[in-house]
């Protein structure tokens, strides 16, 4: 009887609490309190951060390593950290904190530094406590708060305390499936807003998933405006203010000695007619001659370096290249604008989030015959007229003049622009499969191949590179007579040709030979795990792949079996395969299309049906028999 009562009492509690007992490490709390003060137009902003974590096992003691980043816009102060051991009621203070830098592959030099320490004496049962203050030196950078983290959190809370003459804005993301409690407090000194969340799961990226901001529950707060002596001063009340701030930064660009930039722009375009052709020539010049090297140093991370110094040094980052294109294009009479943009990892709209969080990249927009052409020279291989793949769908903020801007969405490039056309001629000699194959790649299909060829080939020979990248037939496939055309030419299709010898492929048993013409098995590994997968699958670009495979029936054989036609049609993805015989030649026509940039969880089943039917189609062999 007693047991039953206890069960009943426990029940309601169990329903609402998450069970984290299988975890190794959880956050008991992660709190952030932002305090804003403004005096005569000068902001005093600080974040008080406190975190408490518990080791439920002694497996992952590496979580004891702590790192807190800062740069010239922030400072870290008053770090207090200790480990508490409940078993012995001991408290062991952190007594060594080191300031460090890191080399980052993407950014050559940055002012990003970090304070690092390790929590002492962590083991099963240990509870670590950390509190510190982060001073925010610029009111444009309040940052974001993550309700969820890489491990579960029992209590996550953000609060912001601000005087009554300040207005703040806030917006949360990916909170549909969690409960966020929001509270407003009014005191004589000001307001306090508090958001809190209890028992939230951990969030970890998945293979091919989109950036963490697409699924991680988080909130962005920002300062809209403040009032002093009856006058309202805007900070980031909407995208107009953001643009105003960007304009103030752009004004600081050093525009000395632009003459030499002009001379180069003129030289590049002097024998070319038509705005489009001129723009293309300038874009190609910047792609080919300016190498990507990024320096992020204070506001230098926001203000492009002068076009003339970028030309002299022959290197720059996105904004440096964007500004150089802007200067060159305008000089030869082509309307062009500096353009701010977020890559696909950022989910925000300028109209929802009018803060610098929204973008992380800069490009140039050229307006030619009323058409807006997005130019991103950091992608050295993208053809003129196509935006870089990772900016598709994103809002671009075009700076028209000091007061005017335009927000335009970068269009998704249709699949026809990124096509692979593959023609293969198969022959069978003494049981060994020989293939001559030609590939023509356009758009992003070409960009992807060329970037891999240039940067990922490492020490491999061309043939070995093809063996691992194209992975045709099997890993014994031997490649020879490789030729390539238009690797450097940005406009025309990349043409590849090679011969293959595929051992252990054609299967001869008694009087029959079994041959599978699907040596290219695109997408066959793309099934998603329906049970475990949580977040959408990202696709970099839309594409078409068309294959024509011709098999020459060798002398002394005739065809015994040719597979039936197969297809799968969905508006976003699909394929068709059909076989025919003309005289002594068996012909397979195959086309595969992907017309979406992301597969959402509710589409996983349909996607898997597509992949399964494709794999099924790949399994079909033709059969020859001796005459």
């Amino acid at each position: 009887m007693k047991k039953a009562i206890i069960l009943l009492l426990l029940l309601p509690y169990l329903v609402f609490s998450q069970d984290f007992s299988k975890e190794d490490y959880i956050f008991l709390k992660r709190n952030e309190h932002i305090k804003i003060d403004v005096q005569k137009g000068k902001f005093n902003i600080s974040k008080s951060i406190s975190e408490q974590a518990e080791y439920l096992t002694s497996k992952k003691l590496y979580f004891a390593n702590q790192s807190m980043g800062f740069d010239s816009f922030t400072a870290i102060e008053d770090i207090d950290a200790f480990t508490y051991l409940p078993s012995s009621d001991e408290k062991i203070q952190v007594d060594y904190i080191e300031t460090k830098r890191e080399f980052d592959n993407g950014i050559f030099y940055s002012d990003q530094e970090s304070k690092n320490f390790i929590f002492p004496a962590v083991t099963k049962g240990a509870i670590t406590n950390l509190s510190y203050k982060e001073i925010i030196k610029d009111p444009h950078f309040l940052g974001l708060f993550r309700f969820g983290s890489y491990v579960p959190t029992k209590n996550a809370q953000l609060s912001i305390e601000f005087p009554k003459n300040v207005t703040i804005g806030y917006i949360d993301f990916n909170t549909e499936e969690i409960q966020v409690d929001f509270k407003k407090e009014d005191s004589k000194h000001g307001y306090t807003y508090t958001w809190s969340v209890k028992n939230i799961d951990g969030f970890q990226g998945e293979e091919d998933s989109e950036g963490a901001l697409h699924y991680l529950p988080h909130i962005i707060v920002y300062i809209k405006s403040y009032e002093e002596r009856g006058k309202t001063y805007n900070v980031l009340s909407d995208v107009n203010d953001l643009y105003k701030w960007y304009t103030s930064l752009v004004k600081q660009i050093d525009d000395q000695s632009l003459e030499k930039v002009y001379v180069i722009a003129e030289e590049i375009t002097e024998s070319i007619t038509g705005e489009k052709n001129k723009a293309e020539a300038i874009f190609n010049w910047v792609q080919n001659n300016i190498t990507y090297v990024a320096f992020e140093d204070g506001l230098g991370g926001f203000i492009p370096r002068s076009a003339s110094s970028v030309c002299d040094k022959r290197y720059g980052d996105c904004k440096d290249m964007a500004n150089l294109l802007y200067v060159m294009l305008n000089h030869v009479g082509i309307e062009a604008h500096r353009t701010w943009i977020g890559t696909r990892d950022r989910t925000y709209s300028y109209f929802e989030v009018p803060t610098p969080m929204v973008d992380n990249h800069m490009i140039t927009a050229a307006i030619i015959d009323d058409e807006t052409i997005f130019l991103d020279a950091t992608d050295s291989y993208v053809p003129f007229g196509m935006p870089s793949a990772f900016t598709q769908t994103k809002e671009a903020l075009l700076g028209i003049d000091t007061d005017t801007f335009k927000v335009i969405k970068v269009p998704v490039q249709n699949a026809e622009k990124s096509t692979s056309n593959v023609t293969s001629q198969f022959t069978l000699e003494d049981g060994t499969m020989k293939v001559n194959e030609k590939r023509e790649l356009t758009g992003y299909e070409k960009v992807e191949f060329v970037s891999n060829y240039i940067y990922k080939k490492a020490d491999k020979t061309d043939e070995e590179f093809l063996n691992t990248t194209l992975a045709l037939g099997n890993n014994k496939t031997n490649y020879s007579n490789f030729t390539k055309e238009n690797l450097d030419n940005k406009t025309d299709a990349l043409k590849l040709e090679y011969d293959l010898i595929i051992d252990n492929y054609a299967k001869t048993i008694a009087d029959k030979v079994y041959i599978n013409l699907n040596i290219d098995r695109t997408l066959s590994k793309s099934k998603v795990d329906l049970e475990k997968r949580k977040y959408s699958k990202k696709i970099d670009y839309k594409f078409n792949k068309n294959f024509i495979s011709k098999f020459e029936i060798p002398q002394g054989y005739k065809s015994n079996y040719i597979p039936k036609d197969l297809s799968f049609e969905h508006h976003n993805y699909g394929f068709t395969i059909n076989y025919s015989q003309e005289g002594n030649t068996i012909i397979q026509n195959k086309s595969i299309y992907i017309k979406t940039l992301s597969i959402q969880p509710d589409e996983f089943e349909s996607w898997n049906t597509f992949i399964k039917s494709l794999i099924k189609a790949y399994k079909k062999s033709i059969i020859l028999e001796t005459i």
Binding site: A64, Y150, Q204, I454, D459, E463, N474, K476, I509, D529
Partner: protein, 644 residues
């Protein structure tokens, strides 16, 4: 950290001579160098690498000074070449003064762009590497030459080393070692070129010149970084004559004195109670295993500059230690149980080939504890390893073994148990009624290094990592694999039994393993052994063959042929390739597969083993045949034909 432990007090006396770096300079008006057409096809090519090390002292400043000059000219031919060379990082480790840094670009038209000195940035305390001066080369285009010349003054240090080979071809590499009348030693690795004595401005020097050094390329089953041509050197303070034996003796003393306590610290008493309470009559192995488990569940090995991380009392309180300091913890726990041990100093064979004949502190990079009575190692700073064989990356390197009486010896770190790392797999295969899907019941046992890795990954990874690892454990390369059942045993990273196998029991199903062929089916039986590496390389092999560790696979695959079908094409299941010892004829590695058919059951047995981890470079083709035989089997298939 280790270097600090090795410092020997020195008394230097004065002498005076000129300094070469002051007169060494680059061409006043540089021109592009002539290259062969082959050389212009590479992404980049080194035209010159000149490294000068100069030790000097003067009467006024009796301290020994050390200068290093590095001068490089590189041609960059494409984007990859530019990306490889357009950023320069100069380490400031031990540097007391930068004498000069300059760089310039000569583009294809012959125009020269000089680096603006203001653009040299200073970066402090980068990870564990110290400070750097960094800059980006200005004015680089395709087909430019990048020239960098710098000289730094460094703290006096008796030793140094320099790689003369890189991952791109170098047409001329020079190393000059200027020591005047000071006693010095120098040695070059992996080149037949010899040092020549000469005098530079009247001062004695040694120099070595190498021409057309091929690029060191990354190959499978190789340790390319450790195989680069390199020089190591020692320069002794005036009047001193230290032999290699004296250096090693000194190290053994310095290190040894720290790690062989006369009595274990009383601060570990409570821990000892926790480890051993109620456990009587434990063997030496069991005691050591418990100590290892305890330390790895309670201490963190930390990489930072906190000097207290080598202080025993601090370590025991904070349960954090450097890779050096953690040895003291082990030493005290082992001492408390009177377990005999030795301290081993070595290096990862992927970074350095440890050379007992030439003392160079740079190669003293990894520490192990050796239990001579058990012939087993403890890898104190390797979270995934427990008492057993030496970690795979150290296996095969020489080690300095320091005994409790501070005497020392060198020996190659070998694997004591030849059958340490094994995988045995029993696979039962059946088909569903429609012959659309193959169902594979798997029973697998992993031992040795395999099991250490499996346990490590499963306890240290995040959920996504564990998911991917389970995919590996149930067979890689099966595109549409469905995991029907999965269970693993002996997964805990803390084990007290020697080489307890890690067991996986699973059932998977797959449709892609069955290919349709008219009214027959091709069953791709080979794919169930997982993707196998294929040594594709057609260019000449550069690196000696070194595998990760000796290992063995034993498979028993049982296939039940569905009713109404017969199996055909079984001949591809018979493979036999081996590599035999020239002296004994013993098979050193092999891949052998056979089958027997009884009624509707086919049983395939495979044995693949690699008895040693090192194979002869000149017999690369034979080795490759064995490796590729597994990849051949991976393509094996069986035809299932309807009985007529």
């Amino acid at each position: 950290m280790i270097k600090k432990a090795l410092i020997i007090l020195l008394i230097a006396t004065g002498s005076s001579f000129a300094q070469q770096y002051k007169t060494y300079n680059w061409e006043a008006s540089p021109k592009l160098h002539e290259l062969t057409s082959e050389e212009t096809k590479a992404s980049s090519i080194g035209i010159l690498k000149n490294h000068i090390v100069e030790y000097s002292s003067s009467l006024l400043l009796p301290d020994l000074k050390r200068y290093e000059t590095e001068h490089t000219i590189v041609r960059v031919n494409d984007d990859k070449g530019i990306a490889r060379h357009n950023t320069v990082y100069i380490p400031m480790y031990e540097v007391t003064q930068v004498i000069d840094i300059k760089a310039r670009t000569i583009n294809s038209k012959g125009d020269v762009v000089l680096l603006n000195q203001e653009n040299i940035k200073e970066v402090k305390n980068v990870d564990e590497y110290g400070d750097f001066k960094i800059f980006a080369i200005e004015g680089v285009e395709k087909n430019s030459e990048i020239e960098v010349l710098y000289t730094v003054e460094k703290e006096f240090d008796m030793y140094g080393s320099e790689f003369l080979q890189s991952n791109y071809k170098i047409k001329e590499a020079k190393f000059t070692f200027i020591t005047g009348t000071l006693n010095s030693n120098i040695k070059a690795y992996r080149t037949s070129e010899k040092f020549e004595s000469k005098t530079i401005d009247g001062i004695e020097a040694m120099t070595i010149v190498l021409n057309d050094i091929p690029a060191m390329i990354d190959e499978e089953y190789a340790t390319p970084d450790a195989n680069k041509i390199a020089v190591v050197y020692q320069c002794l303070p005036r009047g001193q004559d230290i032999t290699q034996e004296m250096f090693w003796g000194n190290v053994s003393n310095n290190i040894g004195r720290k790690f062989f306590p006369e009595k274990a610290s009383i601060l570990i008493d409570t821990d000892l109670t926790n480890i051993f309470e109620g456990k009587e009559g434990l063997s030496v192995f069991e005691k050591a295993a418990r100590i290892d488990n305890f330390i790895k569940s309670n201490f963190n090995v930390v990489k930072n500059n906190n000097e207290e991380l080598t202080d025993l009392n601090y370590i025991l309180k904070n349960r954090s230690a450097s890779d050096f300091g953690i040895l003291k913890v082990y030493a005290n726990f082992l001492k408390s149980q009177n377990i005999e041990f030795e301290i081993v100093v070595s290096a990862s064979r992927f970074e350095y080939k440890f050379d007992p004949d030439f003392f160079n502190p740079n190669m003293l990079r990894a520490f192990l504890i050796y239990l001579p009575t058990e012939k087993k190692y403890i890898a104190a700073d390797r979270i995934e390893y427990r008492v057993g064989e030496a970690p795979a990356n150290i296996l095969g390197n020489y080690g300095l073994f320091i005994k409790s009486d501070l005497d020392y010896y060198f020996t190659k770190i070998t694997q004591e148990d030849p059958d340490y790392s094994k995988i045995s797999r029993n696979l039962d295969i059946s088909f569903d009624e429609a012959i659309e899907s193959a169902i594979i019941k798997e029973y697998q046992e992993y031992s040795g290094h395999w099991s250490a890795t499996n346990r490590g990954v499963l306890s240290l990874s995040n959920d996504e990592g564990i998911l991917q690892f389970k995919d590996y454990l149930t067979g890689t390369g099966i595109e549409d694999k469905i995991e029907v059942a999965y269970e693993a045993e002996n997964t805990d990273i803390n084990q007290t039994e020697y080489n307890l196998p890690f067991i996986v029991k699973s059932t998977i199903s797959s449709e892609s393993l069955i290919e349709d062929a008219g009214d027959s089916y091709l069953f791709q039986v080979g794919k169930i052994i997982g993707t196998q590496s294929e040594l594709y390389q057609e260019t000449e092999r550069v690196n000696p063959i070194e595998m990760t560790y000796p290992n063995q696979y034993d498979y028993t695959i049982t296939i039940t042929i569905p009713d109404g079908y017969t199996a055909d094409g079984l001949s591809s299941l018979n493979i036999d390739k081996s590599y035999k010892s020239k002296s004994t004829g013993e098979k050193l590695c092999k891949f052998e597969s056979n089958y027997i058919q009884e009624g509707n059951t086919i049983t395939i047995t495979i044995q693949e083993f690699y008895k040693t981890h090192e194979y002869d470079l000149f017999r690369y083709d034979e080795f490759r045949e064995v490796i590729n035989a597994a990849s051949d089997f991976n393509k094996a298939y069986i035809l299932l034909k309807a009985t007529e």
